[in-house]
């Protein structure tokens, strides 16, 4: 069946349906949205927008088809879609950003619905690789609808939304993981696959920590751009501020710049960032330091010193925990010492690990000494508690002996009385 015929049949069906309404409803017919009335009676794909708008943030805010597509939703005939009534129809792909931006870049208009929503998305989009390529005529690149959907758009804080943090990797991967679609762009298509093996994905997708980064947290949202060598530390430093700050002050900064090495990525990788461990530090197999520092150099010796210092602190901490556990097993109340250990010693180990980014063994050693001193205080408290428990057990012998003696004397007296 030809599309024009289909439309006419659908329109006829819709009008017939309206005509059959009970008398009581006729008064409300002025408010009937004729776009919805007709399109809901049409076959796919013409009826799809109607269903989509039932769970769309625009529909929730009271917007209807004409707010985006123009036209007259009160007209019962095809004049509803007449250009003279402002009908814009379905935008061409290259026009989509401007089509959405008509409202989303209009601050005064957007304030009526959501004053906190930014209105610079369109401006940012034109700075992105996507926007720049679209302007150059590449219609394969992402526009608003590729990330947000068409009808059925939901805000980012809803779990069903395509841009909900945990859904973002798959939304981006819809294009970027498609080797066939991405052919010709000269960029890898395994980023999402690698990301899903990373510590960030573990936090976001497995542990459902929505503060963990998805693609857009590093690459930007509307202004999406691959971070260059010089900007990577800035990207990572958004969250890992202390590490980035220490790195900037370290001798590594100048050395990396000279060698044109990306800062964080050189040691930690980019998309496939594994959970860090102390095994990265030092000169053994798997350590990242020996990728650059040769044996006999100061850097090599520094890596050894820093790793040894951290291992020393860990040993002291393990010993302290063993003592605390022993005291607890003996039934002693050590929660205050455990609290001090948890709040003062454990954070010190985290600080020491962060301090390695300064690349200064002396600074690491100083922090390790501080941590060791704190751990030793907890250790002394645990030892004192164990000593007290042992003293209690020793001291019990005296009252127990007296009680047994008294029992014997009483028994002897009883025997004497009953003889």
């Amino acid at each position: 069946m030809r599309p024009a015929t289909t439309r006419l049949i659908g329109l006829g069906l819709a009008l017939w349906t309206l005509g059959l309404r009970p008398a009581g409803v006729v008064a409300a017919e002025d408010k009937v949205d004729t776009c919805v009335a007709c399109h809901s009676a049409l076959p796919e794909p013409l009826n799809v927008p109607v269903e989509g708008m039932t769970h769309d943030v625009h529909g929730e805010k009271g917007l209807s088809c004409v707010d985006c597509h123009g036209g007259d939703a009160t007209a019962m005939d095809e004049t509803s879609m007449a250009p003279e009534k402002g009908f814009r129809g379905k935008p061409k792909r290259a026009d989509i950003p401007a089509f959405c931006g008509r409202c989303h870049a209009d601050e005064s208009y957007m304030r009526r619905f959501n004053p906190s929503l930014p209105t610079d998305q369109l401006q940012q989009y034109w700075t992105s690789v996507h926007g720049q390529r679209l302007r150059q005529g590449d219609e394969k690149v992402a526009t608003c609808v590729n990330c947000h959907g068409v009808h059925g758009i939901l805000p980012a804080d809803r779990a069903q939304s395509r841009i909900f943090p945990a859904n973002v990797p798959d939304t981006c991967g819809g294009c970027h993981s498609n080797a066939e679609y991405m052919a010709g762009y000269g960029i890898p298509t395994d980023q999402v696959e690698k990301y899903k093996r990373s510590v960030h994905a573990d936090m976001l997708l497995v542990q459902r920590d929505l503060s963990a980064p998805a693609c857009n947290d590093c690459h930007g949202n509307h202004g999406a751009f691959p971070p260059g060598v010089s900007s990577i530390a800035g990207v990572c430093g958004q969250c890992h501020a202390n590490n980035a700050d220490l790195f900037r002050k370290s001798p590594h900064k100048a050395a990396f710049d000279r060698a044109n090495l990306p800062e964080c990525v050189t040691c930690h990788s980019n998309h496939e960032i594994h959970r860090t461990s102390d095994a990265m530090l030092g000169v053994q197999d798997g350590a990242v330091c020996i990728r650059c520092h040769q044996a006999g150099t100061a850097g090599y010796a520094g890596a050894v010193k820093m790793r040894e210092a951290i291992e020393h602190l860990k040993t002291v901490m393990t010993d302290t925990q063993t003592l605390l556990k022993r005291a607890s097993t003996m039934g002693m109340e050590v929660s205050e010492v455990e609290y001090a250990f948890r709040e003062e010693v454990r954070p010190q180990l985290i600080k020491v690990r962060t301090q390695t980014h300064l690349g200064d063994p002396a600074a690491v050693l100083e922090m390790v000494q501080d941590g060791t001193a704190r751990a030793s205080a907890s250790q002394a408290a645990a030892q004192a508690t164990i000593a007290e428990a042992q003293a209690r057990r020793r001291n019990l012998l005296l009252p127990l002996g007296l009680i047994v003696l008294l029992m014997i004397l009483l028994y002897a007296k009883l025997r004497q009385l009953e003889r």
Partner: protein, 362 residues
């Protein structure tokens, strides 16, 4: 047998003239305790009394430092067991002796039950004893919450929920116990009031009547045929009371060993906003109720399963309370094997449920 009276000092004479001690001693010397195969069970009443004495003494000492309140209770108990000299011992003695007391009271109750000592004329002794058992369990329930730790908080939540199941009065009882819709600092302060003022006063009054009745009526002899002549009894003083003292000393030694080698834990502070940790259960002597309720279906004959369960337990408690008036054979000094079998059934049920609560709670 008792030795001839020795000449007494002036001080003893002085007190005797005013208090009539020699008359009391003469009464006690003539008072006898039946000497039968089941004599060992006669000591559990005395052990319960001794443990109640320890509860009083240690409870009073704990009052010096304990501060009721959601913000201070846990901290004050922590202070008692870590800073106060011998505070750890006093607190552990209080907790351990409370549990041993509940155990001793149960053993005492069941021994009296199986010896049918509730039969006339000792019905009132039985009724006051059942009152003391109820008060002991209420002491345990109210005292458990006072350290305001995590386990106690959620166990009290479960306990007051169970009280809320009672037909008609349940919701009002739960609200009265909690001092609100939920277990909170208000619950703690009123449990403290129950534990240190109302319950001790009630317990002391009922205990006084219980002991008075025992002194008036003496200890019950077991049911035997009228052809069998009674065995000569043991003099209450010094024979029975000295044996009691030896046993009390033994119990005290056991308490000291328990307190030293397994001090009563404090646990983590209660956090009303956290979710209940796994393995929450009430004190062991309430687990036979909570565990049984878990096995009941949601509905029994159209009535809520928990309501049916609680009604059955109430019925069981009423049966035990009124058993002197139900066991007509024992009243006629005849063996009553049906009541013995019911008692064995109750003990078997309680022990099974307690064991399941600890070894297979789900």
């Amino acid at each position: 047998m008792s030795s001839p009276a020795k000449p007494r000092s002036g001080v003893a004479e002085w007190f005797d003239a005013r208090l009539g001690i020699s008359e009391v001693l003469a009464f006690l010397r003539h008072k006898t305790v039946p000497l039968e195969g089941a004599t060992i069970w006669y000591y559990f009443g005395g052990v319960s009394l001794f443990l109640f004495g320890i509860q009083l003494a240690t409870g009073l000492l704990l009052l010096f430092y304990y501060k009721p309140g959601a913000d201070s209770a846990y901290e004050s108990v922590q202070f008692i067991i870590t800073r106060v000299p011998f505070g750890w011992l006093i607190r552990s003695l209080h907790s351990w002796s409370a549990n041993l007391m509940v155990f001793a009271v149960f053993v005492h109750m069941f021994s009296v039950y199986f010896l049918k000592a509730y039969r006339p004329p000792r019905e009132l002794t039985w009724l006051t004893g059942m009152g003391l058992l109820g008060l002991t369990m209420t002491f345990g329930f109210s005292g458990y919450l006072l350290p305001w730790n995590e386990l106690a908080f959620f166990a009290t939540k479960v306990g007051t929920d169970i009280a809320g199941i009672l037909p008609v009065i349940g919701p009002a009882v739960a609200r009265l116990l909690r001092g609100g819709a939920e277990v909170s600092g208000a619950t703690l302060t009123r449990f403290f009031g129950f534990h240190v003022a109302m319950l001790p006063a009630a317990f002391t009054a009922v205990l006084f009547v219980h002991l008075l009745l025992i002194q008036r009526q003496g200890m019950s002899e077991s049911i035997r045929s009228t052809d069998t002549p009674p065995k000569p009894g043991m003099p209450f003083f010094p024979g029975f009371i000295m044996r009691d003292a030896i046993l009390w000393l033994g119990v005290f030694a056991a308490l000291l060993i328990l307190c030293t080698f397994s001090p009563w834990e404090l646990g983590a502070k209660a956090d009303p906003f956290s979710s209940a940790p796994a393995g929450i259960r009430p004190e062991w002597y309430f687990t036979f109720v909570s565990q049984s309720l878990k096995y009941l279906p949601a509905q029994i004959l159209g009535i809520d399963g928990d309501v049916v369960g609680i009604c059955v337990f109430l019925g069981g408690a009423l049966f035990l309370f009124f058993v002197p008036f139900l066991d007509r054979r024992a009243a006629r000094n005849q063996p009553s094997p049906l009541f013995t079998a019911i008692g064995v059934g109750i003990i078997g049920f309680m022990l099974t449920m307690i064991a399941l609560a600890y070894f297979k709670p789900y």
